[in-house]
Symmetry: C2
Subunit: 344 residues, 2 copies
């Protein structure tokens, strides 16, 4: 009889042989194997080519012994697929070449099927699944509609979110139309990932923490709820992750997700109590802690695991993605240590 | 008999004739008068020259009818005064030319007296006081030691705070020595501002929200508490302001401050309840709301004032500084509307 992998069992809040571990951005620039590939291919090349995306996805599985693979992709691929143009400027992060600035830009978004324009992601997942027949489960993902809309409207990274908030306040109908369009696209995109073999899905709402609860409730929550409601039909567990969103946890829980992903600002036990113990919890070591001397890393892991108190339903992760420059050896030791300390 | 100005009365939680209003960065790029002056002088020129700093400080008093003036200065002037070098790169924000990267850099900080190296700020305050004999009170300010240390170590703005956290984790003794040095300097600096005539002091901990509660407690709170304890000797009310710090409010209250400044993420009533009604509260409209159509601005102001519930001790402000491009006319209307709606 097949045993449920610890990662999937934890998302269902079932007891596991150990606390499962994976890391956001576990494939990426901190790994020499990845940097070697990036000398020959751009980030978008790797995302576009299933062989390369699968290879990068597998790099940390071999190097770290983590309990889940996450398909290598970018949360902004849908904006490129929707015709807005995406490039990565040296040292500047993502640039959306034709940002949405007016209601007409929303109306002009083309009617494309995610399965067709981003079918390569599902294909890459299928390759990873084939390589991991007895290995860890594979996670598919998408950016949450608010975070993706922020990039679409701002045209790139921002500190102030002036454009996106102005759009919400000044053009509420167009805003809601954009959110509906992004939800629709995301459902198709994530469906194609599950058809490719994804066994769990994570929704990244990386920028949502800039909103207060009232704006989240008016402009985001209804759409986020539709997204999670529709993902239920795919019958895989979902993880709902936000950053700087300590003040939104209850609302995020209301929107949906079998597990809620915490950043490092909220102590795990306090966050879990707010979210409710009828959900799984994922997190939440500060990524910068991985630069600290090992005894300090270990002390903080142990403190966090103590807060989880052995309750079924904890997936160990960082509170945000692994940072460039993080020592790979420390990351590997984290996996080993969490496994050893939580062996049941 | 002189009547206590509403701003100072509110900080003491005394009843006022109306809720006092001021804005962080109420002098700045959104105002044509300021931009005109900036065509001839750099930001650091204006900070260095008491006549210019006083003139810029007075611009919003004339234009807006606010209940407090805040001296025009920059939270990073102390780093320049401590020999680290400060310049403002085009479009990049502040750059610290010789950042602190090792314990030796902390030990090498010169023994300078704030009163001597930054006496110009106190002098500018004296000019503002002279111009405002019957006008609103004048606020002095400094960056909190954590925020200033972050700039000193990172060398400028950052999203990840890798260097400063690494410094804390790897060099705790040098970190604490740096914090003590910054507290010492700040006390001297703020004392000279009060001697110049400052009637209240605000401490800006703009970056502290990147820390979790445990790190705040270990690395920041003891120093922040010493700072506020020593400021009590100056016998002027203090305001303790943080950004993205909803998860730290209790700890910030414990560190000190007659008023706690909230950003927009925490509803005013919830934040005040956490802080305790034995403190005044300052805030907390999202600065981006000032770009919205007026009825939306008014709706949000009214909702916030309802949360304040007429309780003495509310100072109306934004949740962060006024953004460049904000319509001056909207800012002026905010003052007028808050005054009218809270007239008692």
């Amino acid at each position: 009889m097949a045993v449920t992998p610890p990662f999937l069992a934890a998302l269902r809040r079932e007891p596991t042989t150990h606390t499962p571990v994976w890391f956001m951005r576990q494939a990426g620039r901190y790994m020499a194997e990845y940097r070697a590939l990036r000398e020959r291919y751009s980030l978008l090349d790797i995302c576009a080519e299933p062989d390369l995306a699968a290879e990068v996805t597998l790099q940390p599985i071999r190097a770290l012994g983590v309990d889940a693979a996450i398909i290598f992709a970018d949360i902004l691929l849908p904006l490129d697929a929707l015709g807005l143009g995406l490039r990565f400027a040296q040292g500047e992060g993502p640039v959306i070449e034709r940002p949405i600035r007016a209601p007409a830009d929303v109306a002009a978004l083309p009617a494309v099927e995610a399965r067709e324009v981003l079918g390569n992601v599902g294909a890459a997942i299928a390759l990873v699944r084939a390589a991991l027949t007895d290995g860890p489960p594979v996670i598919g993902f998408a950016g949450a509609p608010f975070t993706v809309a922020s990039y679409a409207i701002e045209g790139g990274s921002t500190r102030q979110f002036i454009q996106v908030k102005r759009f919400m306040y000044e053009q509420p109908s167009a805003w809601h139309a954009l959110m509906e369009r992004l939800v629709e696209f995301s459902v198709g995109y994530l469906t194609s990932q599950v058809e490719g073999g994804a066994q769990a899905l994570q929704i990244f709402d990386s920028w949502v923490g800039v909103l207060d609860g009232a704006d989240y409730t008016s402009y985001v929550l209804p759409h986020q709820r539709v997204l999670f409601d529709r993902l239920r039909g795919l019958a895989v567990p979902t993880i709902h992750f936000g950053v700087g969103a300590a003040h939104l946890l209850q609302l995020q829980r209301d929107a949906g997700g079998d597990a809620i992903g915490l950043d490092w600002r909220t102590p795990l036990d306090e966050g879990w109590a707010i979210v409710g113990h009828d959900r799984a919890i994922q997190g939440n070591l500060d990524p910068v802690v991985l630069f600290a001397p090992w005894p300090e890393v270990e002390r903080r892991i142990d403190a966090m695991l103590d807060r989880a108190a052995g309750r079924p339903g904890h997936v160990f992760n960082l509170g945000h993605g692994i940072l460039p420059g993080t020592p790979v050896e420390t990351v590997r030791r984290v996996v080993e240590h969490v496994h050893a300390r939580t062996a049941r």
